[in-house]
């Protein structure tokens, strides 16, 4: 579904992503992890059209090079951010509707907005401003706006950041449901390895924009090179 080949991005002298290739199959939950500054969010910024890049990104066989972000959203790739990027003075309903209005190329369907609000269990908050909700609520609204675009693929950037154990469990369940019930392919960047090993079908570890390991999450997390450059010996001993 998403084929990234020899992706390279330089900011002046800094090579943020270096000749990176990976492939995400339809229906997968694909994880990306690595130390801070490894280039994880830059990959999302490249896939969503925020920067030009070297190499190739194909989505459903079509190159996205040179496409503006709103066109890529309309193609079916949506994303969320580590810090919820919600619209503070739009209500929950309007936030989802804005995605459905602009990201979904089909005619606007108010019933779909209702379905997403129900799916996210936000019925009680539908008329509240997004800015009034707590962190979990804001994260759900951001996901709701992304789902409003009717995405084929959802890129989640550290969705668990700042969440407590209960919220992490709720978000993990929600991500699984989006994947299974809505049929949305998911890429997730996360630092919580337990979340990645439980959720993902395939895991990519990068450092300095370069691939260290890729494959089955359990195998990748026991890879000596991954332990040395990212997870640390303590993680290996604990697990």
């Amino acid at each position: 579904m998403l084929k990234v080949s020899h992706l390279t991005k330089k900011f002046g002298e800094l090579v943020a992503v270096n000749d990176l290739s990976f492939h995400v199959a339809k229906g997968q939950i694909y994880g990306i992890a690595g130390p801070n500054g490894a280039g994880k969010s830059t990959i999302y910024n490249l896939i969503t059209g925020n920067y030009p890049f070297e190499g190739e990104i194909l989505f459903d066989g079509e190159s996205i090079a040179g496409m503006p972000p709103h066109k890529i959203a309309q193609m079916g790739i949506s994303r969320t951010f580590q810090v919820p990027e919600t619209f503070s003075s739009l209500t929950v309903e309007q936030s989802v509707a804005v995605g459905a209005h602009f990201g979904d190329t089909d005619l606007f369907d108010p019933q779909r907005v209702d379905e997403i609000i129900t799916f996210l269990e936000l019925e009680a908050d539908r008329d509240r401003m997004a800015g009034e909700l707590n962190l979990l609520g804001n994260k759900k609204v951001m996901i709701g706006a992304a789902l409003g675009t009717r995405p084929k693929m959802l890129l989640l950037d550290e969705p668990m950041a700042g969440s407590n154990a209960n919220e992490i469990r709720a978000l993990m369940a929600l991500i699984r449901r989006i994947n299974v019930e809505m049929g949305v392919t998911i890429i997730i960047i996360e630092h919580f390895m337990k979340v990645l090993t439980e959720l993902t079908d395939k895991l990519l570890i990068i450092e300095s924009g370069t691939r260290i390991a890729e494959g089955d999450p359990d195998k990748v997390t026991s890879d000596p090179e991954v332990i040395e450059c990212y997870l640390g010996q303590a993680y290996a001993e604990d697990n």
């Binding site: 949506s78 003075s89 804005v98």
Partner: protein, 291 residues
């Protein structure tokens, strides 16, 4: 004495309503795209000259109804194309906000000198929207003032309705609040920037048509409006439309009463004194937010 004060109050209310319309336009562009448009005053003059050409030079049949019907699409198109041609290309560059100020300053000088070349340095007058006055006992209110107030407030209410009830209004609010979030839900951000620039040009241009009946049109007349719109925007809170509305009426009243008590030469002094005092106590303005 009371009747005189009432006259001044009505003048403040009328001017305040037009200032509100124009300040909302300036605030809209700043709030959505963070661009400060130095040619805003020249767009005000453009509206005035557009109406003068149609009403006086051409002698267009149909009066102000036809003028407004033609002015709105003309000003919208002018603003949209201006943004696309000279501002949008700068956004990709570093320090683009400063570059936008410089290029719109250049555009203002170009337009004002263009007006002078085309229409000469002398002021042009426009016929009133409506002749006569309404009498309420001993109080007379010019129909022109009533019309200016009604049209300005209608313009603001129409804008508010568009912002709250339409697809483009939703997109404008989304881009203003969170440009990053807006992009990923499929909103064509650059088109929204150009559309808001067009809407703001309509607001200030229509303001120019309304006020030209009272204060004439002249090649450099827009600078006073730019300064007042800027003072209102900063006083109300940069990017806050509600703050801009409140500030416009407060400063419209202040202008009317200072002009009445101390003379017109003290008006700008008073406006800046109030602005500086407010910003010293509350740097974000009446209803602005930090960050």
């Amino acid at each position: 004495m009371i009747l005189e004060y009432l006259d001044v109050f009505i003048s403040g209310l009328t001017n305040g309503s037009v200032y509100a319309l124009m300040a909302v336009g300036l605030t809209l562009v700043y709030g959505v795209s963070k661009a400060f448009n130095f040619a805003y005053g020249s767009f005000y003059s453009l509206g005035g000259y557009f109406a003068w050409v149609l009403m006086v030079l051409v002698g267009l049949w149909g009066g102000y109804i036809v003028v407004f019907a033609l002015a709105v699409p003309f000003l919208m198109g002018f603003g949209f194309v201006t943004e696309k041609l000279i501002i949008a290309p700068l956004r990709k560059r570093s320090d683009w906000e400063v570059k936008v100020m410089m290029i719109t300053l250049g555009l203002a000088l170009f337009m004002d000198n263009g007006f002078q070349v085309l229409f000469g340095p002398r002021m042009k007058s426009l016929p009133p929207l409506m002749e006569g006055a309404v009498s309420l006992g001993d109080i007379y209110i010019a129909n022109q003032d009533i019309m200016i107030f009604v049209l300005s407030v209608s313009g603001i209410l129409a804008f508010r309705w568009v912002l709250n009830n339409t697809r483009i209004g939703m997109a404008v609010r989304a881009v203003a609040q969170n440009p990053a979030g807006a992009k990923i839900v499929g909103i064509p951000k650059n088109r929204i920037f150009a559309a808001t620039f067009g809407i703001s040009t309509v607001m200030v241009g229509v303001g120019g048509i309304l006020l030209a009946q009272k204060y004439f049109v002249s090649p450099m007349g827009g600078w006073d409006i730019l300064v007042k719109s800027w003072v209102i925007t900063a006083f109300g809170g940069m990017g806050s439309i509600r703050g801009g509305l409140l500030a416009a009426f407060i400063l419209g009243m202040l202008e009317a009463f200072v002009g009445y008590w101390f003379g017109l030469s003290w008006v700008l002094f008073a406006l800046f004194a109030v602005l500086l005092t407010t910003l010293a106590i509350r740097p974000q303005g009446l209803m602005g937010k930090w960050g």
